[in-house]
Amino acid sequence: MSALCVTEVIVTSLQVFIRRSTPNMIALSRIVSVCCLICYSIAAHAVSEVSISVERLEHAMGTAKDIALKVQLTQPKPSVTLHAALKPAEADVQHKPNAWTQLDLSCNLPQRRSVDAVRCDNGRLKSARLDLPFNLDINHLFQRNQLDVDAALYLKGGSFSDEAGLHAAEKLSGVMAIALKREAQGWRWRTSLDWQTGEVFWQPFYIESGGHALQAAGTLRDDVLEVNQAHFKINRVGELDADGAVRLSDFKLLDFNAKLPKLDLGAAYPLLFKPLLGNTAFNNATIDGTAALQLKVKNTELQSFNLQLNDVDVVDINNKFAFYQLNANIPWSYEASNPVRLSYARGSLLNLPLGQTEINAEVNRYAITAPNIRLPVLDGALSLSNLSATRLHNEWFWHLSAKLEPISMEGFSTQLKLPRMLGKASAQIPLVTYSGGILTTDGSVVLNVFNGTATVTQLTMRTPLGIAPKLNADIALRNLELGELTRTFSFGAIEGKLDGDIKGLELQNWKPVTFDARIQSSPGKYPKKISQRAVENISALGGGGAAAAVQRSFLRFFEQFNYGKMGLSCRLRNDICEMGGVESTAHGYIIVKGSGIPAITVMGYNQTVGWSELLARIERVIDGNTKAVVR
């Protein structure tokens, strides 16, 4: 401050008024140390009031104008008041003519030499986006002719905001105590912050109310702020003990040790984690339980941490996933590989229930490996082996082999709200790879359904938990039992077997957009019969006509018919299905080709059908029949 006054200040206009009074040079000497401007003007004789007004002060750090300093030396209450408009020397201030901040300060001065505390009430910093009313208690500024500050700042319902509103506070009250002392090689400091009330938004964090406190002490040498010890209490969330060093020129964390013995995740999630999780699949969950964390940073590099999760329940609000009683012990070190353990009692993923699971893995710097992980799903399990994952350039890459131990299709279809299917599904996938956000499988997923098989090959998936998940695959169906299939979908009984090939299938948001599909009777000898209701339903899919023909003719006396082969194809593009059957005719295509007595042939005439229209028709047929069964 004194350097500021004496060497660098340009004073454009200075007026000093001095009145005669009893001298109070003790108090005056202290004021001199606060503001040396007075030293230009105070004469040795008695004064009772000193008024200094300065029109403009310029300094490398900023500009001040309309400064009025008044020192009242009359007993019993000597005081000093200061009013000034301040503007920091920042480049963008030039574009904002109203960037002046008004500072008002009024302090009582000590009356005796022994008491050197200064108390300033009703201080205020005010500008367009800032209003900080404060009190200031200065216990001492100097001791033994050394700068040795011990002061406390009381903020009373302050508010501030930056231009964009991304760093702002309202009704903020609290106390900041600071002690600062010159040492041989720098400064020794101690501070305590008690944030009592008020809300703060500090992009991306929002803290609703007070009750947080910080105590810290350390040294400042050159531009390195060393924290010998710090204790940070976040209301309801937990308490943190830390020490370390920060380089102030670039705010780089040089060294850092932190211990967080008990973090309440329920309180911490909305406060600390949700804002950081942004648009990920995990930003819309509820979480309960506690965590413990230890962390070590040395020479700006993360050296080690140990994260423990204790009885954590995490549930996605949109039911995409849930894990209950999640426990984990995750040690990590830059130097050595560590065993990682994670377990949960139960959970669900995309509505599929997950059973009790224990995962053991090895973490080596940025890579995770696990020889075997068994995830119970429904009544079966997904076994993963030779799992290897690594994080490179902020993206995950991983691969594994997977084996699906038989799960019942009944449970699977019920959970996913699909028509009830019977049988078991199992699968073996030699290699699953996840790279660049795309999940790819080599080999085939074989599902055993309807006494036949469904083989899924060329399976790739994008953003399965995102808003518009995409799936591509080829599916081959072999020897599906039509009896079971038609019962499942209440379609009217058909006896026989079915083969199918669905090539180039693309699902978006789990709905088909593209495929070349063909289903037809399986080769071989087996009974082939179709009920009258199934004939009506198939005809209804083709757009009506045939059903009426059956009703009109003698065929209506037969409950069921024989057929030689049946088949239907659909090439789906742009929501239009190009349809075909087992054979083409001049006017259409044959869906069911009769054989024997009584035989029936069902024709289709619509070469193209809107996909949504076709789905609606199938739904009507299935719905209608379901009702019929109930009756």
Partner: protein, 138 residues
């Protein structure tokens, strides 16, 4: 009512766009596109008041941005950022899906530009839109 307004707006924007990018069918519908539109429509109710207050505005590149967070109470500011980020993720995905559905993923930038000018043309009076020279109030 807001939903209907939004739907009408989206429709108008899409129809108008068809003239501009003659080759691209901007009205094309796929399950992915309808999922994204559904998500955007559900969000519009949350965004509408922020457009009106000037807290957010329509950018010249077919996205939205926080213009003046001071127009929103502190408590809602974190949510504001979240909703803007989610809307922009949907918009980017919408342009990408429309390009892909047209069989020309490389048209994404062009489709985005067309949408940008149309969103701005169809914005309600009082909303903030971004032009070449910065933000202006319609």
């Amino acid at each position: 009512m807001k939903k209907i307004l939004f739907s009408v707006m989206l429709l108008v924007v899409m129809l108008a766009n068809q003239v501009v990018v003659a080759a691209a069918d901007l009205e094309v519908n796929t399950p992915a596109i309808s999922a994204i539109k559904g998500s955007m429509q559900a969000r519009h109710a949350q965004l509408a008041s922020h457009y009106a207050s000037g807290a957010i505005g329509l950018t010249k590149d077919g996205l939205i941005a926080v213009r003046d967070a001071n127009a929103v109470p502190l408590k809602e500011r974190a949510g504001l950022n979240g909703v803007v980020a989610a809307e922009n993720a949907d918009r980017a995905k919408l342009y990408q899906e429309i390009a892909t559905a047209n069989g020309h993923p490389e048209w994404q930038a062009e489709i985005q530009n067309t949408f940008a000018s149309r969103w701005i043309d169809k914005a309600q009076g009082g909303w903030w839109v971004q032009g070449a020279s910065g933000w202006t109030k319609k």
